[in-house]
């Protein structure tokens, strides 16, 4: 009883009233659904009874995932220059685009006139963060990255989830001196 909707070839319109009683009463489908879940139930129960792990989940913290996707957007890091300063130029692009508004930046004058601006305060409130990765996209100097791992993103209160500059720099410290400042066609 499915009708092709004109102009939308991959959609179909279902007229439930034209379906038979068996479908309208739902019992057949109910039993089918229950049958599928029951299969899973007994399979996992059997595994469990034979001292195997009857589930595909990971028992954190005894087990941790090793197979993080390289594309996974985990915790943030701030990339540093070789002198230990963050690459961040405090442009607030990330703070501007952040849909959760969880990034707080205060800028100050850098000693290096070529850099001009650097963050005095750089905080990410990870309890607000939705891990969308927009900040990484927005960063013009490749200063903020998200690693696949999200290790130990825990805290006993919400203030402990505010990660400051030092915390972001010290977790998986990454040094990069690639020139992205200005326009360098030969780079």
């Amino acid at each position: 009883m499915a009708y092709q909707i004109p102009n939308f070839p991959d959609m179909e319109y279902v007229d439930r009233k034209k379906r038979g009683l068996t479908i309208q009463v739902y019992y057949r489908e109910i039993f089918r659904g229950v049958w599928i879940t029951t299969k899973h139930f007994f399979r996992n129960l059997w595994k469990w009874l034979t001292f195997r792990k009857g589930g595909v989940v990971i028992l954190y913290p005894e087990e941790t995932r090793a197979d993080m996707s390289p594309n996974n957007r985990g915790r943030h890091i701030l990339v540093q220059r070789s002198n230990g300063q963050p690459r961040c130029v405090a442009c607030k692009m990330c703070a501007t685009i952040c849909p959760a508004q969880c990034i707080t930046i205060e800028a100050e004058e850098s000693e290096d006139p070529k850099i001009q601006k650097r963050p005095q305060v750089f905080e990410i409130d990870l309890s607000h963060c939705i891990f969308c990765g927009f900040c990484v996209e927005a960063c013009p100097v490749d200063a903020i990255r998200m690693l696949p791992e999200t290790s130990e993103l825990v805290g006993y209160d919400r203030f402990r989830m505010v990660y400051d500059k030092e915390k972001l720099l010290s977790w998986h410290p990454t040094v990069s001196d690639d020139v992205v400042h200005g326009y360098n066609p030969n780079a």
Binding site: I30, V34, T37, H40, G54, G55, V56
Partner: protein
Amino acid sequence: MEANFLGINMVNFWTYFILAGGIFVFMFMMGAVMSWSERKQSAVLQDRIGANRASIPLPFGKKFAMWGFINNLADAIKCLIKEDFKPKVYDKLMYNLAIFFAFIPAVLAVAVIPFAGIVKPAEFFNVSYLKWIPYLPEYFAKNLPDYSFKVQVADLNVGLLFIFAIGGISVFGAILAGWSSNNKFSMMGALRAASQMISYEVSMGLSLLGLIFIFQTVNVWDIVQAQNELAWGWLPKWGVFMQPLAMFIFLAAAVAENKRMPFDLPEAESEIISGYFTEYSGFKMLLFMFAEFIEIVFVAIMLTTFFFGGYTVPYMAADGFYFPWGTYVHLSHATVVILQLISFHVKVFFFAWLLQQARWSLPRFRYDQLMQLGWRILLPLAIANLIITVIIVALGGL
């Protein structure tokens, strides 16, 4: 010993006191088990592990987790010590009363359900595997040689009607909770609950009416007894065989009465938060949840009692098996009673499991679909079923 106190038969008093207490505890334990299975069963069927963290520490680094059962304990403690958060403006009396309206009928209705057949205490202990029990055999043999009782709290001759009467009260719980919370979501949930429960009660009642016509009684004990008889000499007269269609209608209607998936529109989280008990917290919310779990068990008990022969075991009479091919196996009285209890509990557990399984497998109805199903499908089917049954019964069939 014919002990009378203020005209009360003290033997009967103690018997039914213990019996009622036992059944009450059983229902509560079942509630706990259901809330555990709600988690663990759903986890297992969804390829998860489920609750397994809360535990009682034991020596040598061991932990006593009971496959997540301790979680329930922890939950109960948590709910007890949680803040009792109440709405700013609410009807205090009704708000608190609603819990009891929801909770008590679920437990009360079990009173008319027989859990096993007639027990004769004096005869009960005359089996080899119960010889180890001290004192009691001698006591019963000496003092109450002829005493017997039914494993049923109240043998009402209007038992079935009692169940409906009590079941009808539970709708008040939802309505009062929703109304007294002074919350639009609660109110909406309450209205949904009311209309849904009343709609499905019709089909549920009509589906059981066929059984009444067949067994010519509304006494639950008699219904169960009648189901142990054989039709055509070999088929137990279980409700499911007599009224297969009614069984399905009853199943659907009972789940809907119970406000469980796929009929849990009164508490549809994505639409109205938690429905009528949105504004309840802590232990009060827990009681609502508990009432719901107990109701599942009660649905399972009803199914067992009315459609699957109750406590009876096919072909088994009070003194042993009478198989249709003529074989007779003698069983002692205690064995019969224990088999009956086991039979009852296995059936109840199976249906409770099945209902949980359905709850975690099926998506929720839309509200118009729900009403559609109740009024335009189940009700006509139930009426048709009833009419056919009546005609057959009137023509002398069955």
